[in-house]
């Protein structure tokens, strides 16, 4: 198993290299450049700026220069924000997004899976119907509606929670509550629907019939015989979803003014901030690759038919 993990991690290096290469050239193909919108810049000053960022060199040389600095762990200077480097921006904001995502995912896993499994087990009962009604609501109401609604009632109307101010001021951790819950709601609902469906499927399988024919108790069957099989589909959903969440949830971060990484994904593209785009791409790819590896490991733990060696 550990040999497999090491091989998989080493395998990500060429993958990342290919992603970086393709991305580097593709971005340059897009029309426009980082300094286009500052119309008033005189020709000679623009040339100075371009010279400063080495944009006047042939693109292949720029690429080599970028890869070289990348190997030393430097993502380069931002073309947009002059005061700090891309690494500084991204690695300062990434932990905030990760905290937000991890808390929301934790809630989604705990509440979503347990209520979904119970709903599947108590299929077609009042519990099932009411919970699934909530799940439909959670899936279909977008976060840009939920966020402001929560903010309106919990902060403005009832004054229970702060509207924003990530981990600062007297409110402290209370500032986490609204963004985390607003983000989690959708994932609680999808996890619940997924685990309900997979529980129902497992319950209809022949081996559960066998377990019943052995006279085992329902609670034993549910925890020992049903759960593992029912969790498998969740694991494959979890990977890419958590990767997307970890790298920032732009809408929630904007509404609750979370200093997260999400904003850089959107802004860097608008600004043609080449190095910043590359930075976000590298971070997202890395997180995604790690998550996929994690999913494979979870599969290996859950399903004895899969063995890594």
């Amino acid at each position: 198993m550990s040999g497999y993990v090491i091989r998989r991690i080493l395998g990500t290096i060429p993958t990342l290299f290919i992603i970086v290469t393709i991305c580097f050239f593709f971005i340059r193909l897009a029309p426009g450049g980082p300094f286009d919108r500052e119309k008033a810049i005189p020709e000679n000053i623009l040339r100075n700026i371009e010279e400063k960022y080495n944009l006047d060199e042939p693109i292949v040389v720029q690429y080599a220069r970028y890869v070289y600095s990348l190997l030393r762990g430097d993502l380069g200077p931002s073309f947009r924000y002059a005061d700090r480097s891309v690494s500084e921006y991204l690695f300062r904001s990434l932990p905030n997004s990760m905290l937000l995502a991890s808390l929301a995912m934790g809630i989604a896993l705990m509440i979503g899976i347990s209520s979904g499994v119970i709903a599947g087990y108590k299929r077609n009962t009042l519990y099932d119907y009411s919970f699934m009604l909530f799940a439909v609501f959670g899936v279909s109401v977008p976060s840009f509606v939920i966020g402001p609604l929560f903010m309106y009632f919990f902060s403005l109307q009832w004054g229970l929670l702060p509207t924003s101010g990530w981990l600062s001021g007297r409110a402290g951790v209370l500032t986490l509550v609204l963004p985390v819950i607003s983000l989690a709601l959708y994932y609680v609902a999808t996890m619940a629907r997924l685990s309900r469906a997979s529980t129902i499927e497992v319950l209809q399988s022949d081996y559960i019939r066998t377990a019943n024919a052995k006279g085992l108790s329902p609670s034993y069957i549910l925890t020992k015989h049903v759960l593992k099989g029912a969790l498998l589909p969740i694991a494959s959903y979890f990977g890419p979803t958590f990767a997307a969440m970890l790298t920032g949830s732009v809408v929630i971060e904007t509404i609750f003014r979370v200093p997260g990484i999400g904003v850089f994904f959107v802004q860097s593209a608008f600004n043609r901030d080449y190095t910043m785009i590359m930075g976000t791409v590298i971070i997202y790819s890395t997180v995604l690759i790690v998550m996929n590896l994690l999913v494979d490991i979870i599969y290996g733990i859950l399903d004895p038919r899969i063995s890594y060696s």
Binding site: S205, D206, Y207, R209, T210, A211, N212, A213, K214, G215, L216, S217, Y220, K224, H225, K228, G229, L302, D303, P304, R305
Partner: protein, 327 residues
């Protein structure tokens, strides 16, 4: 001697979108201690549903109903609560299922699946249960049981998995085993081996067995008596010898003709009963076999034939015997 199991007027119905499915329709029979009863019928004739009904394994409710009596020991199992049935299932009545490839839990070790049933029903320590699991695997002919007891189901072939299912079924010394087509999903040579194992166990253990099958060939030499099932009803009852020597019902005759025989003089295609078994929804009046029967008469499509008794436990439902049998 009092029979160990008496089934009386068992009816199992499913409410579906296309109508009410009468999967088991007024089935009555009984089983003596140590006896092996064969239930034979084509696919879809209600054999599995019958077994599940006896075990109380069907989700009775708005769409599923089971009625009649299932007298086991001195109790009527149909009236019993689920909690009571859980103590019966696996301990007093065990069931072996049709498809060994899917009947074991792929996520759990064989040892776990064998130990859990013993721990549920017997007062036994974990270690003793494991030792007994190894003995059971030995008894059912799983090679290297000590080394393999902690393996997962996918590490065994279909035949081996069925042996494990059998080991599980006999683990708590049940007085009745319902074997639902235990060999249907297996290769012919493996089929023979598994039947041989059941033979051996039948002699060693003092259990009664209901062997459900669609293959009369499996019945010969194993069952004491045979009941032929067609579209949810038992159409003929006989001892195994009588059935093979003098089948009464045209359907039984057809089944016998379609057994491949080594001594057959006619080479070429095997006989098959023409037509399809009926859907068990809104069956017409009369004999359900009438549309496929070569001896069909006018009364066959009018009403269901009454019972014609030939001797004790030898009877048939067929208009051909309407008058002469009951003398």
């Amino acid at each position: 001697m009092k029979p160990i199991l008496e089934v009386k007027h068992l009816r199992t119905q499913f409410k579906t979108d296309i109508g009410i499915v009468k999967a088991v329709d007024d089935v009555s029979f009984d089983l003596k201690k140590g006896e092996v009863l064969g239930i034979v019928g084509e696919s879809g004739s209600g054999k599995t549903v019958m077994g599940m009904s006896i075990m109380g394994l069907l989700p009775i409710g708005k769409n599923v109903s089971v009625s009649g009596d299932v007298i086991f020991g001195n109790e009527n199992l149909i009236e019993k609560k689920e909690r009571y049935m859980r103590d019966i299932r696996g301990k007093k009545i065990a069931m072996i299922f049709q498809d060994p490839m899917t009947s074991l839990n792929p996520f759990l070790r064989i040892s776990t699946q064998l130990i859990e049933i013993m721990r549920r029903h017997l007062d036994i320590s974990k270690q003793d249960a494991k030792d007994r699991a190894i003995e059971l695997l030995q008894l059912t002919g799983v090679p290297q049981p000590k080394q393999r007891v902690d393996d997962y189901p996918h590490q065994f072939s279909g035949g081996m998995r069925q042996r494990i299912m059998i080991a599980m079924a006999i683990s708590c010394d049940p007085s009745l085993i319902i074997a639902d087509e235990p060999t249907t999903a297996l290769d012919v040579t493996i089929q023979a081996q598994v039947m041989e194992l059941l033979h051996k166990l039948k002699d060693q253990l003092d259990t009664s067995i209901i062997l459900i099958t669609h293959d009369l060939g499996v019945v010969a030499g194993f069952c004491d008596r045979v009941h032929v099932m067609y579209s949810g009803k038992i159409v003929e009852k006989a001892s195994t010898n009588e059935l093979f020597e003098d089948p009464k019902h045209p359907y039984t005759k057809g089944l016998l003709k379609s057994i491949p025989r080594a001594d057959s003089e006619i080479k070429g295609e095997l006989y098959t009963i023409p037509g399809q078994p009926p859907l068990l929804v809104s069956l017409p009046d009369g004999c359900p076999f009438a549309p496929r029967c070569e001896f069909v008469r006018s009364e066959c499509t009018v009403s269901y034939p009454p019972i014609s008794n030939f001797s004790h436990e030898r009877n048939v439902h067929c208009w051909l015997y309407g008058d002469d049998a009951n003398e």
